[in-house]
């Protein structure tokens, strides 16, 4: 199993063997963020949240898994994941917003709970302009709570960065609300640029102090008019820098999984800029207009690229990008440099090769559940890069046939058969489980554990996968980690179908 190229989101105590369990948690949390980001990037205020089927499959199991790992393994955030607590969860003395690493204790299980509850709230929202204003109000509360309590050097750009980061990590289904919150922060900067001054101004007159102050509707900021200020200028600069850094990540991604996450993040950041910049001024100056037009093209490209991806996978994404590059070339971009620096949303080197490198052909088990959007990737398989639906019969037949051929075969032949099964059905949880068992039989315990991690990321509600992981960890001499895996097996078994019910 190749380690993901990103920084891990979570860390655990030094428990031998437990890295495998942490890998399941880490991959699932990244996948949840990806699901949020992809939905928000292409969505409107009513449709910017992950599909209900996805949320049902991941909500309870992810929450449960993070809680168990917090208790058993000291699970905590490792990277500075931005967060915003949902209102019912806000209590005195507990951080309400910020970056999970930067302040007081904010455990991953609470983050999971807050995020999914916010998604449920978004689904129940009327989805009109008033709802977007209320969403912007809540986002402003988060941004100001963060700057008032964390005291960053320069409050306005820090608050803008926090909001872009929250949106770009897939945690704001209504991106227009984030754009409005950013624009009004920049408007407010003409009258106040300290954390307390901003909070007092935007909250309606005095600095919020109690939980009630921080969570009641504010809405008085809607009267702020566009005005120029040095702090506002630094805020717009922060917005532009975040959006451009996000675009760069799509061009430097190392594989399809990293690219999908970068694309979702970039589009959410671009939409913050695209929808927010016009609200910061009465009329955009020419330079800002030029920049705005560039971003507009990229937001449009995102929608076309995601449609191409859903329809026919990565090869179609490359084909679409080639068509954009050709059109630019016809307009004067003879060496392709402008496409590469202004418009590309994939690494430009993919456009020159004849066949896609293997790790670019399709998303792997790490991201596919979010990437395909409907929460059941195992019922699909890639064909020429495009996801095609397969019936349960085909899956059962493929697994049965592989198991029959594996039985009695030599170790090398067993490995070949299980590898072939994964090649054909890379998103099929049972294929990874079979691979794990085959590897265990040949004495490759680390490889077996990695394979079961893949199966668990695809289907974390499968008690038998957790049980197999526990057995493998025991065999590897890691009884404490095995105990956690076995505990998960028991909890998941007892919860049964409730885990994924609506």
């Amino acid at each position: 199993m190749t380690a993901p190229a990103r920084e891990p989101l979570v860390a655990i105590d030094a428990v031998p063997g437990a890295a495998s369990i942490a890998a399941v948690v880490d991959t699932l949390l990244a996948e949840v963020l990806l699901a949020g980001g992809l939905a928000a990037a292409g969505g409107t205020r009513t449709s910017g949240l992950p599909a209900q089927t996805y949320r049902r499959r991941r909500h309870r199991i992810t929450h449960l898994l993070t809680m168990v790992c917090e208790q058993d393994l000291g699970l905590r955030f490792a990277a500075g994941v931005p967060f915003l607590a949902c209102i019912p969860a806000v209590r005195e003395g507990v951080p309400m917003a910020g970056y999970a690493m930067s302040g007081a204790h904010y455990p991953p299980s609470q983050w999971v709970g807050d995020l999914f509850v916010r998604w449920i709230g978004a689904e129940e929202s009327p989805g009109d302009q008033d709802a977007t204003a209320a969403n912007a109000d809540r986002l402003l509360q988060g941004a100001l709570w963060y700057v008032v309590h964390e005291r960053p050097d320069d409050a306005v750009p820090a608050a803008v960065r926090y909001l872009v980061d929250l949106a770009a990590t897939g945690q704001v289904p209504d991106i227009e609300a984030a754009a409005i919150a950013i624009a009004y922060l920049i408007r407010a900067a003409a009258r106040a640029d300290t954390p307390d001054g901003l909070a007092a101004l935007i909250a309606g007159g005095r600095i919020p102090t109690t939980v009630a102050d921080w969570t009641r509707p504010w809405m008085t900021w809607t009267g702020l008019v566009p005005a120029a200020s040095p702090a506002g200028r630094r805020g717009v600069a922060a917005l532009i820098d975040r959006a451009q850094a996000a675009a760069t990540r799509t061009r430097t991604a190392g594989d399809a999984d990293a690219w999908l996450a970068a694309l979702a993040g970039a589009t959410c950041a671009h939409r913050c800029l695209w929808q927010g910049a016009p609200l910061t001024v009465e009329k955009m100056p020419l330079g800002l207009q030029a920049l705005h037009s560039q971003v507009e093209e990229m937001v449009a490209d995102h929608n076309a690229i995601m449609f191409a991806f859903a329809l026919a996978g990565m090869p179609q994404v490359v084909a679409y990008s080639r068509s954009v590059a050709r059109e630019l070339a016809a307009n004067g971009d003879r060496d392709g440099r402008r496409f590469a620096t202004e418009r590309a949303l994939i690494p430009p080197h993919l456009l020159t090769g004849t066949a896609l490198p293997r790790h670019w052909q399709q998303p792997t088990w790490r991201t596919v559940t979010a990437a395909l959007g409907h929460g059941r990737p195992g019922t699909r398989r890639p064909r020429d890069g495009a996801p095609v639906e397969v019936g349960p019969r085909e899956l059962t037949d493929a697994a049965t046939s592989a198991l029959t051929r594996i039985r009695g075969a030599a170790a090398a032949e067993q490995r070949r058969i299980s590898a072939e099964l994964i090649d054909d059905y890379p998103w099929f949880d049972l294929a990874h489980r079979i691979d794990g068992e085959v590897r265990a039989l040949s004495g490759d315990l680390p490889g077996a554990i990695d394979a079961v991690v893949a199966a668990l990321v695809l289907t974390p509600e499968a008690a038998d996968f957790w049980q197999l992981l526990a057995e493998l960890l025991n065999l590897a001499g890691h009884p404490r980690a095995a105990g956690t895996a076995m505990r998960m097996a028991q909890i998941v078994h007892q919860a049964g179908e409730q885990l994924t019910a609506g």
Partner: protein, 225 residues
């Protein structure tokens, strides 16, 4: 401070409907009359700040200081040569304008551009001021070599930009450089003035010169009107 290629600004000025190709245009097609005329709706006057990024430290440090956008009135467009491409908003800060350390003053694109405008090349660094790009236009030139520190440059250029902005706002069509001459004379500023010059072609050649050195003629991305 963020800057952007002046070519992109010209593309935006001429944008008519957008397709998947965006506004992107061949450089040659950017300098048409209609586009340059529309640019006048956004800028009453233009300045070209000519300096060497590592040799003319007072001016370069002032630009690196990032207040150029704040110091420029909304209807004055300031251009300068950046030593890197700027196809997207590009931040200018302490580390900027240090790439062309090996290019001497004689070979620097900005210096070469100024020399093209004069039969008798003036002392550099300096500020080229003109009213428009379509017709052949006269040019005023203010040498800035006497500025010794970043603070000197900040004070002088802030005052000059404000003055140029005021004069251009009040001037009758075609009278801008005359009025500016009077104002500069009253201020006691040293300046020279050329006859008519084909500025469109001059700027077009400037683009090529800058790009031959992997640079760009840029202008500030002002965030507020």
């Amino acid at each position: 401070m963020h800057v952007l290629s002046f070519a992109l600004v010209l593309e935006e000025v001429g944008a008519v409907g957008k397709g998947s190709g965006g506004n992107i245009r061949d450089l040659d097609s950017l300098f048409d009359d209609e586009r340059l005329e529309r640019l006048r709706e956004h800028a009453r006057a233009f300045c070209f700040l000519a300096f060497h990024g590592t040799a003319d430290t007072a001016i370069a440090d002032y630009v690196r200081g990032g207040t150029l956008g704040d110091d420029t009135p909304a209807d004055l467009m300031v251009l300068f040569v950046l030593d890197q491409p700027a196809p997207v908003a590009t931040p200018v800060g302490d580390d900027s304008l240090r790439e062309w350390v090996t290019i001497d003053r004689g070979g620097h694109p900005a210096y070469r551009m100024v020399r093209e405008l004069f039969d008798d090349p003036p002392a550099l660094p300096g500020l080229v001021v003109f009213e428009e790009l379509t017709l052949g236009s006269e040019v005023a030139y203010l040498p800035l070599g006497h500025l010794r520190t970043r603070q000197d440059a900040l004070q002088e250029l802030r005052d000059l930009f404000a003055l140029i902005g005021e004069v251009s706002a009040a001037a009758k069509p075609g009278k801008f450089l005359d009025d500016l001459g009077v104002a500069l004379h009253q201020r006691g500023s040293d300046y020279t003035r050329t006859g008519r010059r084909p500025l469109r072609e001059w700027l077009r050649r400037g683009f090529t010169l800058a790009r031959e050195n992997s640079g760009e003629i840029v202008t500030m991305v002002n965030f507020f009107s």
